[in-house]
Symmetry: C2
Subunit: 351 residues, 2 copies
């Protein structure tokens, strides 16, 4: 089992920065960049055409799908390859075809990547505090749509329990949980994630787990929706969740994502929990912390001075965190790669 120092050394950005913003984009492992660059050199010299190119790219899709399935404790046939969490949410909402007589229950601390698609669905969107979801269910509720871990508060919900208690379809925004805490995505109906955050993959990569692919219509078909089709667009859908795939992915991105999914050590979740707890305790000595104990990798606090200026000051000192705009909050992302020194640099900058 690799040591912490060995794992940390995989991330060049950490040599210079206390990079504490995986909630937006994860640090890129060296092997991910190397894999992408190697494939780009192949593409530029060999071209992106011919049967071997396509066979190989399709094989890489299978490989990535299998790794994501293992990570989320589902079958590969339940995993769709998307471009983002937002993408996954749009695929689900467009497929559900809700209308103005339908209600969707969500919380008041969701990202636009979830609530934007909810609003576009045409359903009535009912927003409630994180602890009031079940109370908001009515006979018109067609979907519960929540983050596993809120991008604002850093607090986590228990999607499996909400599913069991409500017996309703549940869509989970897993942007801040995938790679951070153990996820059993098949416990709910739809679980959408991004791969460029805590999974440290290339830009514009994501996945959507659909527990029962045959039950969701394909509303946004790409070429991967069909195994054969007619001139009017009617078609035989592919087996499983591949039918929801968002479209082509280049071999550089596939190679990078595949490499990224191999980087994390077995102790990833324990280390995140340990570092987030340290971060929370230290910030709590000086600031109001919104994140409850024992959540995930995000720790959100309320600074006592202007958050924009403070984030900028920290950046000047090599500490990368983010402001949550309009909320007077700053968010710190603790990964399995985060060191005690990273947190000391943060606290030093806040002193």
């Amino acid at each position: 089992m690799p040591s912490f120092e060995e794992v940390r050394a995989a991330f060049p950005v950490l040599e210079q920065y206390a990079y504490l913003n995986a909630g937006t984009n994860g640090p890129l492992p060296r092997v991910v960049a190397e894999a992408m660059i190697a494939e780009q050199l192949v593409d530029v010299a060999q071209g992106r055409g011919g049967e071997p190119y396509f066979s190989r790219a399709l094989g890489m899709r299978d490989e990535v799908r299998a790794k994501l399935a293992a990570l989320f404790a589902v079958e590969p046939t339940q995993v769709s390859l998307t471009r983002s969490t937002t993408d996954g949410c749009n695929i689900v909402l467009a497929g559900l075809d809700l209308g103005p007589d339908d209600e969707v229950v969500t919380t008041d601390v969701e990202h636009f990547g979830l609530i934007g698609p909810l609003h576009a669905s045409g359903a009535r969107v009912v927003t409630v505090p994180e602890d009031a979801i079940l109370d908001a269910v009515t006979e018109r509720t067609r979907l519960i749509a929540i983050s596993h871990v809120s991008w604002v508060t850093g607090n986590s919900l228990d999607p499996a329990r909400i599913k069991a208690d409500s017996r309703l379809p549940v869509l989970v925004d897993g942007a801040q949980s995938a790679g951070v805490i153990p996820v059993e995505a098949g416990a709910v109906d739809y679980y959408a994630v991004s791969c460029q955050k805590w999974l440290c993959g290339p830009d514009v990569t994501g996945a959507l787990v659909v527990a029962r692919p045959d039950d969701l219509p394909v509303a946004l078909p790409s070429y991967f929706a069909q195994s054969e089709h007619q001139p009017d667009g009617s078609y035989v859908p592919r087996e499983g969740a591949e039918r929801f795939d968002s479209g082509w992915i280049g071999t550089p991105s596939l190679a990078g994502l595949s490499a990224a999914l191999d980087v994390a050590p077995e102790w990833r979740f324990e280390r995140v929990a340990e570092m987030a707890a340290k971060c929370r305790a230290a910030l709590g000595e000086q600031f109001e912390v919104l994140t409850k104990p024992d959540q995930a990798g995000l720790v959100t606090f309320r600074p006592t001075s202007d958050p924009t200026e403070l984030v900028e000051k920290l950046r000047g000192e090599g500490v990368i965190v983010r402001e949550l705009p309009g909320r007077n909050l700053i968010r710190v992302s603790c990964g399995y790669w985060t060191s005690d020194e990273d947190l000391e640099r943060l606290l030093g900058g806040l002193a």
Copy 2:
């Protein structure tokens, strides 16, 4: 003005292959790969976070949008940045919200990237031959959806004339026209393109021109749909077609696409026409050619032996073309970079 030899030397794949498959994926210019790799090295060392990273990425979006607008003779506010032609078609069809009482007229030689979304729209899809579009219009017709250049036949239609004659909303699949022939995208309502084909850009890049952005609802919102939003997902849309943007694009892809859009010489369209004419004439001496004279960059012919085996034999000889599966056809893509020698190698392999 650069010479043909200078322009051709920009594409490393052409040193080895007669690469005649830009209709699937274009040859990658060296400067595109270099721009992408340079940005990946920045990302891995500097991280993908902090205000300067985001400001720069947003500036690169503006730059790419402006270059695409100039290419398609529209305003930047009419250009949305997407991931593919399919993506653009899904954005339009989901926004139009058609139903079973609505009819869409299309041709019988369209790509699944258009007809898949048409089928998913729920409208009745009326497929007719390329020359019978206007005859198929009824009072129920809500949209005409066609390729500017068919991926099968290589034949082109005149979208502006079809728009003028029908006075109906027109959606154009420009996958085989963008970068090949002059395009005035604003002459129709919706013009969807891919950037990784004839524009020689990175994988998973595309654009959607929306002539009147305020008239199309945003059905698949990404973060770029809104300038400000409420907890229930309701929002103030951004100005112009940016509201339809598919989501984040990494700086490597943006830098690569920006570089790609600068590569083509002024004589691009004349050269494509000249080489396609030469290709068509030479193939016509031995084979049935489906493509009419004076179309675009694709030339499709019917081989006299098994097309799969023939494409494979050609590949073994360094000639990259593609079969159109199930149609007993082979398609040759002639770009502005195509040389007489490329065509001689093709004809030699077919002899």
